[in-house]
Structure formats: C-alpha cells, structure tokens
C-alpha cells in the first residue's frame, strides 16, 4: 500500500493511518529546515492550508460525486471572517481564528448548499458557479464592507498566546500545519463513519439510496456544509498568512476553477490526492506563473490530458503505475515516456517562441521553429507507435463514473450495469 488510502472503500487500518499521520507530521517538521529560504517557507505554509481547502473540495468531488464550481465561496467567506476576526472582532485568539473562519464559512455554506443541492450533477455545478459569481458581484457592489478591488487587510500580530505572537513565518507555518493535520484526520475519519458510507452510496446510486429510505438531497446538503466548514478553516489560515483578502477575487469562478483543477490533478480517488494537488497548485502559482505568461494554457492542456488519460489524477497514476508498467512492458513504457516528453517539449517550445516573437520582440533563433516542430512530430510518432488500438476500460476511472446524472429522477445504471457500457466491440474508434 502506497500509504494513500482510497475514498472508494478500501480503508486502511488504524495503524497504517497513524503511521501516515506520523510520517506527514515528521515531514512537516523537517521541511522548513530543508527548505531554507523565506519564499520556500511561505510556499510550504500555502501548501498546508491549501491542502485543507482541496481536501474539503474532494469531500464533495471524490466522496460525494458533486462537482462544485463554487468552492471558493466558502473559502473566501472563511478568509473574510479571518480578516474580520483579526481586525475588528476584539480579542479572538489568533490560534482560534481559523475556527471562526470555518464557522463563518459554514454559515454561508448552509444556505448556499440548500439552494445548490436542489439539483444534482451538471445543474448543481452550474448553480454553485452562479452562487460564487453572485457573491463576487455583491462584494464589488459594496466596497465599504468588502474593501472593493483592493481588499481588506489586517495585522495578525495583536497578542501573545503561549508565548507565540505569530509574527514569524515559522509560527504561522506551525499553525497551518497543525490545522492541516487535524482537519485531514477528521476528514479521513468521516469517510469511515456511517455518514461517509451513506455519502458514497448517494454518489454511486442516488435513486437506490432514496428507495432505501435516505434523502439524497439532505445528505448532499450535509456534505456541502461539512466541506464548507473545512474550506473556511483553510481560507482563514490563508488570511492569517497574507493578512489581506480581496473578497471579489477570493470567491469568484476563477478561484473555484483553480481549486477544482488542482483537486482533480492531485487525484480524487485517493484520500491524499488533494495534498498532491495543493503542492502542484503552489508550484504552479509561484514557479510556473513566473516562468511563462502562457501558464493557463499549459494548465488547461495538462488538465485535458489528465481527464482523458489519467482520470485518477497524479495520485491515481502513482498507485496504478507499477501495475500499468508491468502490463505495458519496459520498452513500450520508455517509448511512451519519451514520446510524451518530446511532444511536450516541442509544444512548449512553440508556444514560448510564439509569445516571445509576438509580444516581447525578442529575437528567436531561426532554428527554434523547425527543431520545436520536429520534436512535436517525433513525440506524436512515438506515442502513436506505442499506443494500443485495443479498447479496454480505463483502469483509473474515478468513482463517480458509475452515476448517470442526466436524469436524477430515474435510477441511474449502477456500476455493474455500466460495465456493459465499456466498449467491447464499439463502432466508434
């Protein structure tokens, strides 16, 4: 076992869980010393609270099968509450500010969830999107309350608790990591409770769950609230770290989309997938964004490729890699990897050269174009030669592929029936 437990039902025993938690805690303690610079410490802090945010997102996505484009609403509510708590709410001890953020986000998530969970599937996704945008538009409308486009700032150093004033980044990192470990453990435990099983049931076959006496809407609402609570904790920690929140940005679709993208990229079927996602998110926003102005393009392309070829995300791919490697054989795997690398390098080179030529006026050596194109074509050739034409079920299908959401009032085909949908002799190539 790779130490990454599945949300699908294969749960690790308490010893394994304790080992993983201890391992993560040890890594968290060691990381600042290994990291060195202040920037690295800031990134690690971000990874910690973003992990809470993305784990909360995965409660909806992986555990409940709910695609939410409005997660940032709860995160932003938590951030806003965090800033408000630090600035106005009197002596709320800083270590408790995340809890305040969580409660505020819960207060937002309950009515938002009530509206959103009236629908399921695609409609749910659209409603959550619109709720986030509603909040963003509202925030811009009343700048006196929300700080307008420049946002509201606060100062986190306003007292001492157990000798810590949280001015030093290391102390903020410690706070974030502590909350992350506790939140992660709670969310994992939730998966093992009766509620966790019921949420999985509603994900797999909501109509059958109804015929067993459960109300799918109410269960989804409950999950939305719990997810919102933890999202708010993460958001408040972000507010503590950066001491500023721009509400309109914090709750809008762009932010929600990022959370969704990185939760999926990290992996939705493995519990710790979102942790990988938060690492990717921080790396993308610091290194990738600095390195290339075309970063949304790359992220979009990587996302499409992940959806198509690695639906389990990075974590899922890591778990399935040994088996896939064995099945494919060394030579094919090497060809595939080389092909991906070549095609990727060629495409990136073309895009970057295009940007430079078009906008920064920098001269690009004449050899770049043919070399990049050649790389791209070579990569495709390698991939084509290595790819199988035989159809087989994707080994990394996410858990909710079982549910058909188009008609929520009719029993969707369950996982069993859907195996007959996996093509054996399909006319479509």
């Amino acid at each position: 076992m790779a130490g990454l437990e599945s949300t699908q039902g294969g749960r690790a025993g308490p010893r394994a869980v304790a080992a993983v938690v201890a391992g993560l805690a040890a890594a968290a303690v060691a990381a600042p010393w290994l990291a060195g610079s202040g920037l690295a410490l800031s990134m690690l802090t971000q990874v910690a609270w973003l992990a809470i945010v993305l784990l909360a997102n995965n409660l909806l996505l992986g555990q409940c099968g709910l695609l939410s484009f409005g997660h940032a609403l709860q995160v932003g509510a938590g951030s806003l509450a965090g800033v408000a708590a630090m600035r106005w709410a009197g002596p709320v001890p800083l270590p408790l500010v995340p809890v305040v953020g969580g409660l505020a986000a819960l207060a937002v998530a309950l009515p938002a969830g009530f509206v959103a969970t009236r629908s399921a599937g695609t409609a749910f996704a659209m409603v959550t999107l619109a709720l986030g945008e509603l909040a963003a538009a509202f925030a811009l409308m009343v700048p006196d309350w929300f700080g307008g486009e420049s946002g509201i700032s606060a100062d986190r150093v306003y007292g001492r608790w157990a000798g810590l004033d949280f001015g030093a980044p290391l102390q903020v990192y410690g706070l974030a990591v502590s909350y992350a470990l506790v939140s992660g453990w709670l969310l994992y435990a939730l998966g093992g409770t009766a509620l966790g099983r019921l949420l999985a049931a509603v994900r797999d076959n909501p109509a059958r769950a109804a015929f067993l006496g459960h109300d799918p809407r109410r269960l989804r609402w409950l999950a939305y609230g719990i997810s919102g609570f933890f999202a708010g904790i993460g958001g408040a920690l972000g507010a503590v770290q950066f001491e500023i929140v721009s509400t309109a940005d914090a709750v809008g679709l762009a932010r929600s989309g990022s959370y969704l993208l990185f939760t999926y990229l990290g992996g939705t079927a493995q519990f710790l997938g979102p942790l990988l996602g938060s690492v990717l998110m921080v790396l993308a926003s610091t290194w990738l964004a600095l390195w290339s102005p075309a970063w949304p393009l790359y992220l979009g392309a990587v996302f499409i490729l992940t959806v198509m070829f690695a639906p389990g995300g990075l974590a899922g791919a890591a778990v399935a890699a040994p088996g896939a490697l064995r099945r494919a054989g060394w030579r094919r795997s090497v060809v595939l990897v080389l092909g991906c690398a070549a095609a990727g390098a060629g495409a990136v080179a073309l895009v970057e050269a295009g940007y430079r030529v078009r906008w920064s006026g920098t001269a690009v050596s004449a050899g770049t174009w043919p070399v990049a194109t050649a790389l791209l074509l070579a990569g495709f050739a390698l991939l084509a030669s290595a790819s199988r034409r035989r159809r087989k079920p994707p080994a990394l299908a996410p858990p909710w592929s079982c549910a058909d959401w188009r008609n929520a009032s009719a029993p969707p085909p369950c996982c069993v029936a859907s195996t007959s949908r996996w093509p054996r002799a399909s006319a479509s190539p």
């Binding site: 699908q8 009766a194 099983r197 006496g213 459960h214």
Partner: protein, 233 residues
C-alpha cells in the same frame, strides 16, 4: 399505462403479479413505490395514503422494493449495503449516530451478519458490489428489500436471469425472509409463481383481468385467452 387497477395485499400474504410484457407491472410498482406519481387513484399502506410521496418517505412508512435491473452501490461492499439499508429503515435513533462508524452499533451489525448468512454472502460480504457475480448481486438486491423488517415488500422479477439452482435458492430465501410480510412479486417464471403465491393477479394491457387463488386464475378463460397457452398448466 394503467387503467383501473384495484389491488389489495393482506399482511402475511404473497400476491404474484403476472402478465405479458408491457402489461404495466413495472409501472404499477413505480406508482406504488414512489418512483412516479399516479395521475389518478390512491395507494394505501396500512390504511394511510402514500400516493405520490417520495420514495424515501414511503420506505420509512414501511414499503420496500427491489428492482428488476440490479441497482447497487458499485464501490460499497455487501455488508455496507445492508448497513445503509438498515440505517435508512430508521431505527428511531437520531441522525447523530451517523458520525460513528457502523461497527459501533452491535445490534445492527448482528442483524447484518444474519442477513448476509441468509443471502449466502458470508464470505463475500466485504468485496465491492461491482465485483460480485450476477447471482450474488441479485441476492443482495433482494436482501436490501427485506432489510429493516418492512411490513410490505415489492419484488420486481427477483429470479430474472437465474439458473434453475439459483432460482430454487432464491425462492427459499424469499420464503424465509418474507414470512409474515405482505409480498407483491412480479414474476415470469410460473413455477416460482405457483410455488410462492397465495393469490395471483393478472395484468394485461394495463387492466387487471383476474385476481384470485392460483387454481381459480389457472381456470379463468380470460387469462387463458390472454396467455394463449404460453405456459403449461
């Protein structure tokens, strides 16, 4: 489409609903169990009207059903299926119990184990349902309907697609689990029908053309005409 179907099932009685394809048997089940709302008429459960209520409300009132096409939770094991079904039947406990793992409820766990044994799934209880064999899935499907002691159970073609031996086992299970309950079973297999049913209702093109004891139905000329000798008497 159903036209003027008037059917009553007494407690402890087993009524088989038969009829050619397209007669409206599944439509009747859907209308009764809350999947669709009937445009006219009433559904009474123990004297109280449950017409047009949601499936979960009807289940809590005590009417459970199984499906012709197996409807399971693919990633959950059989044990979890039964636990969820028990939880849904409503034991009177507050919902806060859901924050504890299922294993903490000893009485429910005992009941789940008993049901697994009855369904022949002891050894297979912890495997995800998607990986069970067809017969095991059908057994689980039927078991879900009996979970939580509902007084009324609707079974939609419980032996569909089963071999002789599997059918025999299935009928035995239905007899054991269904003892003392009101059962309404849709079936095409006449051996099963005559083996289980106290009364038979015959539905043809949405109309109830006969309702009585097996012998009476067998002798009924209208029924014989409808089936035109398609089953051996």
């Amino acid at each position: 489409m159903l036209r003027g179907v008037d059917l009553a099932v007494a407690p402890g009685e087993c009524v088989a609903l038969i009829g050619p394809n397209g007669a409206g048997k599944s439509t009747l089940f859907d209308a009764v169990s809350g999947r669709t709302a009937p445009s006219a008429g009433q559904v009474l459960l123990g004297g109280r009207a449950i017409t047009g209520q949601s499936p979960q409300r009807i289940r809590r009132r005590g009417l459970a059903r199984s499906f012709q096409i197996t409807q399971l939770f693919g990633t959950l094991c059989a044990r979890d299926h039964l636990r969820c079904a028990l939880a849904g039947a409503g034991s009177g406990r507050s919902r806060l119990w859901w924050l504890r793992p299922f294993q903490h409820d000893a009485a429910a766990e005992a009941e789940v184990s008993r049901l697994l044994h009855l369904l022949g799934l002891d050894a297979r209880g912890d495997i995800p349902a998607a990986r069970l064999s067809y017969a095991e899935q059908r057994a689980l499907e039927i078991g879900l309907a009996f979970c939580g002691d509902p007084p009324v159970v609707l079974l939609d073609e419980p032996t569909a697609g089963m071999s002789q031996e599997e059918t025999r086992l299935c009928v035995q299970r239905i007899r054991t689990l269904g003892a003392g309950r009101a059962l309404l079973i849709v079936e095409h297999d006449m051996d099963v029908v005559f083996g289980l049913a106290d009364r038979i209702a015959v539905l043809v093109q949405g109309r109830l053309i006969a309702f009585g004891s097996p012998a009476a139905v067998r002798a009924d000329p209208a029924v014989q005409q409808a089936y035109a000798g398609s089953w051996a008497c």
